[in-house]
């Protein structure tokens, strides 16, 4: 079996959990810990990617470029990655992070909309980035469609394409089906990014590896949108037990996770997300970063958070449509 490349997204997906308030000191400490644990790729940035600091998604406490710069300076071996969602971030943002020394760009679209990433993938590739295509909300499309969209990203020049379970709604069978199909249709490697909303993040990651994925995401302690991602330290431990080859060191990823749980998160008052809240996301198939926004909207309009999530799922909201949650809450408040 080929070696699995691990991307840790504590400092990007985990940014949702702290309402995008990570500081330079947080970034420096977490990157150093991940780097000494030999984690291959470390993703840093606003949860919604470059230029995600907005009223819609939450303003960053510290400018993203300052955080990215600190990450690059703290990494000796690990490569620094950042995310771009076409429609939010633009090509000039790519130029800025290139100058800062970012090596990996992940370009994300809703699973059916790969063509809006054509320009960004092509330009990033020309600029010399290692480019990852990220097909979000992979549960929303049938396998054939996921393959079709992944092939578009491959044709634009992506080095890897991910099936991304943004809502934490896929079951192992759905993961295997998608990853196997991608593996046989693409010439480039395939990746998988999970959310633990149904408690399946580790199991789904393992299913993805068995089906041929060679790029897997995790985050320390599982810190990330909704119930969080696959905990990186648990992923590394499970891979050791399963005899899967990887570069990351198990004990050192546990140390990095302890740093995040016991020290980095302390000032934010963030504990591992309440399971019943994130369970709703996986149940309704809703984008994981909607959780905290929906909870705020529920409070603002005095309605039940669960009703908001179910309605967002019924309306088939896609990633980025956080604005709809307030409208739904307002409507529910009138019923």
């Amino acid at each position: 079996m080929s070696k699995i490349i691990i991307t840790d997204t504590t400092l990007r997906d985990g940014s949702h959990s702290v309402a995008h308030r990570f500081t330079i000191n947080d970034v420096t400490r977490v990157v150093s810990a991940l780097d000494s644990a030999n984690v291959d790729i470390i993703e840093v940035g606003h949860g919604d990617g470059l230029a995600g600091s907005t009223a819609n998604y939450g303003f960053s406490a510290v400018p993203e470029m300052d955080l990215i710069k600190a990450a690059v300076q703290s990494a000796k071996n690990s490569k620094i990655a950042t995310l771009l969602l076409p429609g939010i971030g633009t090509v000039p943002d790519l130029e800025k992070v290139k100058d800062l020394g970012v090596k990996v760009i992940r370009v994300a679209t809703h699973v059916t909309e790969a063509d809006i990433a054509h320009e960004h993938i092509e330009v990033a590739k020309k600029m010399g980035f290692f480019v990852v295509g990220f097909l979000m909300m992979a549960h929303r499309a049938k396998t054939e469609r996921v393959v079709e969209e992944a092939q578009k990203m491959e044709s634009y020049g992506a080095n890897v394409v991910y099936a991304t379970d943004s809502a934490g709604a896929l079951l192992p069978k759905g993961v295997k089906e998608r990853i196997s199909a991608l593996k046989s249709a693409l010439k480039i490697p395939v990746g998988f990014h999970s959310h633990n909303n149904l408690g399946l993040a580790i199991g789904n990651s393992l299913a993805a590896i068995e089906a041929g994925a060679t790029y897997i995401d995790g985050s320390l302690g599982g810190l990330g949108a909704g119930a969080g991602n696959t905990p990186t330290e648990m992923l590394v431990g499970v891979m050791e037990r399963a005899g899967i080859d990887k570069n990351a060191n198990f004990f050192k990823t546990i140390d990095a996770s302890s740093l995040v749980r016991n020290e980095v998160l302390e000032p934010y008052g963030v504990h591992l997300p309440a399971i019943q809240d994130s369970l709703m996301l996986g149940y309704a198939g809703v984008y994981s970063s909607f959780m905290l926004h929906a909870k705020r909207a529920a409070k603002r309009f005095n309605v039940d958070y669960r009703d908001i999530i179910v309605e967002a799922g019924r309306r088939e909201a896609v990633g980025g449509q956080e604005d709809w949650l307030y409208e739904i809450a307002e409507e529910l408040s009138k019923k």
Binding site: A55, T112, G320, W324, E327
Partner: protein
């Protein structure tokens, strides 16, 4: 009553929808449609009894100089850069529906006035710009906007290849209009494509950070603005009237939805409808001026 003769360049989806809208107009008479190849749009124009040609802008200016006074250019940014030279020389007032933006932005609910009609051409911004700039301007009048941010969600099918290939340009142009026409000090524009079936209506959320958070005054200004928009885009309505996102903060938030007229394009393509409806409004005001009609 006399009508002003108009032409269309680019008989694609937008162009064919314009054909139907122009036919309904009291002041505009569709006289010529040109494209660069024989196409279903050219055929539709001929079926409507309109002179149509695949010989492009050259045909239009050669045969209709001094006759056609208003032209809709629904080609592409590159196409318009070329077309504009001929149209300017022929003195035809042009509504540029492409991202080329050689002329000033025009959003009828905000800046359709005597001065802008003196320009040789005006640019229609983007569909998101047409849907959101009026509300930013309305809030700015009431409350002084120092930061505007808009999130426009379009149904996937209604976003054509041009929009998809140039999504950065789309968000940048919309942002520029929020500042230049909407009056915000700084701005951001986000775009989301949603593939839900049946398709969603075009939905727009507008956030404004304001210096004077008098929500009653803001609400009144937005209601007035919606009435003006409705006069040329009947399918525009609130999804959510203005609220303070968080009563302790200074962010005003509201939602505007656009249901299309369902002329050539389905009602869920409100984004395409609003940019066409806005360009028809400008053409009609220009036509009334040319005809000397007073209202």
């Amino acid at each position: 009553m006399n009508k002003v003769k108009v032409g269309i360049i680019g008989p694609g989806n937008i162009g064919q929808d314009l054909m139907i809208k122009i036919r309904r107009s009291k002041y505009l008479e569709l006289t010529c449609v040109v494209g660069i190849v024989e196409s279903p749009g050219i055929k539709r124009a001929r079926d409507m009894g309109v002179d149509a040609s695949p010989d492009g802008v050259k045909y239009l200016v050669k045969h209709y100089k001094d006759e056609i006074q208003i032209v809709f250019d629904a080609t592409s940014a590159k196409g318009h850069l070329e077309n504009s030279k001929y149209l300017r020389e022929a003195g035809m007032f042009t509504l540029d529906l492409t991202p080329a933006a050689l002329g000033p932005y025009c959003v009828p609910a905000v800046n359709l006035d005597e001065n802008i009609l003196k320009e040789p051409e005006v640019n229609m911004v983007t569909c998101a710009g047409q849907a959101t700039t009026p509300m930013v301007a309305a809030i700015n009048r009431a409350a002084d906007v120092y930061y505007a941010e808009t999130v426009s969600s379009l149904s996937s099918f209604s976003a054509g290849p041009g929009t998809r290939a140039n999504i950065d340009e789309f968000t940048q142009t919309t942002r520029n209009a929020l500042i230049k026409v909407g009056g915000a000090d700084t701005a951001r524009s986000l775009i989301i494509l949603n593939p839900a079936e049946p398709p969603i209506y075009m939905s727009n959320t507008i956030y404004c950070r304001v210096r004077d958070k008098n929500i009653e005054k803001i609400a009144k200004s937005c209601e007035d603005c919606l009435a003006v928009m409705k006069s040329y885009v009947p399918g525009v309505r609130f999804r959510m009237k203005p609220i303070l996102k968080d009563p302790k903060d200074d962010i005003v938030m509201l939602g505007v939805e656009v249901e299309g007229a369902g002329d050539y394009l389905p009602k869920t393509a409100g984004n395409l409808d609003i940019i066409n409806a806005a360009s028809i409004r400008i053409a009609e005001v220009k036509a009334k001026q040319l005809l000397g009609v007073k209202e």
